[in-house]
């Protein structure tokens, strides 16, 4: 079954999505550490690769299961249709993410893949394979709620943490003495962030793949997670370093204190979401954390107009990806 051309196509598209996540979303998280000069670009990429791979493999199964079978009840659909649907979903998400990135829209791979799976599910409903009530609307509602809550939660944690650090620095005669320990903590926090992001975002790549393999009935095989992890690391090595470098250079106002608060806020939130199996946008959560630090007075200037752009692009993402996935699925069935 592995050598079925459709399965090979899903592997290829999944690899592309994993690559895309590693090249963009995870690289963003690592850029801040390079920005404050604690790690060199090389060190950051190697460390980031190891940690995000571990996150994907050790902690990626819950979110993957949600994407694979949590939204569309694939056990009620025949194996061949599931395979086509999974292929349609991953292709739709890949195409949309690439196109939107080209347009400079801050889209989320997680939102895309969830929308794409829903598109496949709705076509199945229209064909009478499953009923409208079979789609896990309650899970979907939870996922959408987590999309709104995760940036807010990241922001609240980062806000509180930065306020606490500032109080501590206030008490010290020489705040520079806190610099070294804080720099160390930033490295720890960036590892944690990449672990969390790996655990959440790997599902965007291998969720449909696991559905197609029918591998989600009992337990997700480790090699599928490894496959996703490798794709993420490849993305970071081949393309992500450019983002890490750009961010490291351009964000000059990062200090160990505000970088630590922002990363901690994002990491804690994403990891909680991963453990609940919620595919959230890791980048949006990071943006929320940065805003939290900004509201606590920890950054020189934060551009809040980005929030409007994010809301706009996620309201756009779900219907568009749903549509692309549905059309692709129907097209594949004709073939």
């Amino acid at each position: 079954m592995i050598f079925d051309p459709f399965i090979i196509a899903i592997f290829a598209a999944g690899l592309y999505m994993a690559w895309n996540v590693g090249a963009n979303d995870l690289a963003n998280a690592m850029g801040t550490t390079v920005g404050i000069g604690t790690l060199s670009l090389k060190q950051a990429i190697v460390l980031g690769g190891v940690v995000s791979f571990s996150g994907a493999v050790l902690f990626g199964s819950r979110v993957t299961e949600t994407v694979a079978k949590g939204i569309v009840p694939i056990s009620l659909i025949d194996a061949h249709s599931v395979m086509l649907g999974a292929l349609a979903a991953i292709l739709a998400a890949g195409v949309w993410v690439t196109f939107a990135t080209y347009l400079n829209l801050p889209v989320s791979t997680s939102h895309s893949i969830v929308g794409a799976m829903l598109g496949f599910g709705l076509v199945s409903v229209s064909q009478g394979t499953i009923n409208m009530g079979d789609i896990a609307w309650a899970v979907l509602l939870k996922i959408v709620a987590s999309w709104v809550l995760s940036p807010v939660a990241g922001g609240v944690v980062a806000f509180l943490l930065f306020t606490m650090i500032r109080q501590l620095l206030e008490l010290m005669d020489d705040p520079l003495r806190a610099d070294r320990p804080l720099r160390f903590l930033v490295v720890v926090a960036s590892c944690w962030v990449l672990f969390a992001l790996g655990s959440n975002d790997v599902a965007n790549a291998i969720g449909p793949l696991s559905a197609a393999l029918g591998a989600v009935g009992t337990e997700l095989p480790m090699w599928v997670l490894v496959f996703g992890g490798v794709g993420i690391v490849l993305g970071m090595f081949t393309w992500g370093y450019r983002i890490i470098e750009t961010i490291g250079k351009k964000i000059t106002e990062l200090t160990p204190a505000n970088a630590f608060a922002a990363q901690f806020g994002a990491a804690a939130t994403v990891l909680v979401c991963s453990s609940f199996g919620m595919p959230v946008s890791t980048t949006h959560t990071m943006v929320g954390s940065v805003v939290g630090v900004g509201l606590a007075g920890g950054l020189e200037a934060v551009d809040l107009s980005v929030i409007r752009k994010i809301v706009f692009s996620w309201v756009l993402t779900v219907p568009i990806v749903m549509f692309i996935a549905a059309v692709t699925y129907m097209g594949l069935m004709i073939i």
Binding site: N24, D25, E170, P175, T252, N258, G294, A301, L304
Partner: protein, 227 residues
């Protein structure tokens, strides 16, 4: 940045560094007053003309920085301080170089053989203005360091302590300015009615340089105590 998704967009360009560059530029223009007033008192028309052009160029450069700062402050930008306070601080800071330019322009219009006490009055105000600008630059330099440490309360207190000297100097200049104006009005026989009007205007605008510095530090106080 095509084909890349980054969180760079959330980090707006900070207005604080250019705010300090603007202070430096405006003060550079004001520092030129020392030379131009001396040249004016010496009756060196050519040197006055030359310095006027230099000051005008510095004022223009300060204006360019001012525009850059305003560009960086749309409503959507979140700062650690009140955005309106920053804009209202920028205005008098810009006034420092504006007034320096006005003084230079006025000095190119007409030159006189000045009575001794008017000369010494003008030079005295200028000396005091230089001291005010020194004190003013200290405040803004300290402010730029404040940003780096996320406005620690201790540092804010230290910065606030640098403000009263600027205000004190400005007040002293006001007193000298009144005395000088009186002297100018008494010198009508030597410099003519037009001369009285012209020199009174020069002394008035020269005093405005420090007025603007004092107004700017006052704005700065408002900005910092509301953190």
């Amino acid at each position: 940045m095509r084909y890349m998704r980054s969180i760079l967009g959330i980090f707006a360009e900070s207005p604080f560094k250019p705010l300090y560059s603007h202070a430096e530029k405006a003060c550079e223009a004001a520092y030129k007053l020392e030379e131009i007033v001396q040249a004016y008192c010496d009756g060196d028309v050519e040197k006055v003309q030359e310095l006027n052009e230099e000051i005008s160029e510095l004022e223009h450069e300060a204006d360019m920085i001012k525009q850059e700062i305003r560009k960086r402050l749309p409503y959507s930008v979140l700062l650690p301080v009140n955005r309106q306070d920053v804009l209202e601080f920028l205005k008098p800071q810009d006034g420092i170089s504006d007034c320096a330019e006005d003084v230079a322009k006025l000095m190119t219009l007409k030159s006189y053989v000045l009575p001794k006490d008017i000369k010494s009055g003008l030079l005295e105000i200028t000396q005091m203005t230089m001291k005010t600008i020194d004190a003013y630059l200290k405040v803004t330099e300290r402010l730029s360091q404040l940003v780096a440490t996320s406005f620690r309360k201790k540092d804010i207190k230290e910065t606030l302590e640098l403000i009263p000297p600027v205000e004190k100097l400005e007040h002293e200049i006001d007193t000298i300015e009144i005395l000088l104006t009186k002297k100018i009005f008494l010198a009508e026989d030597e410099i003519g009615t037009l001369g009285v009007f012209h020199l009174a205007k020069i002394s008035d605008v020269l005093g405005d340089v420090s007025d603007n510095a004092a107004r700017a530090v006052d704005r700065l106080r408002t900005m910092m105590i509301s953190i």
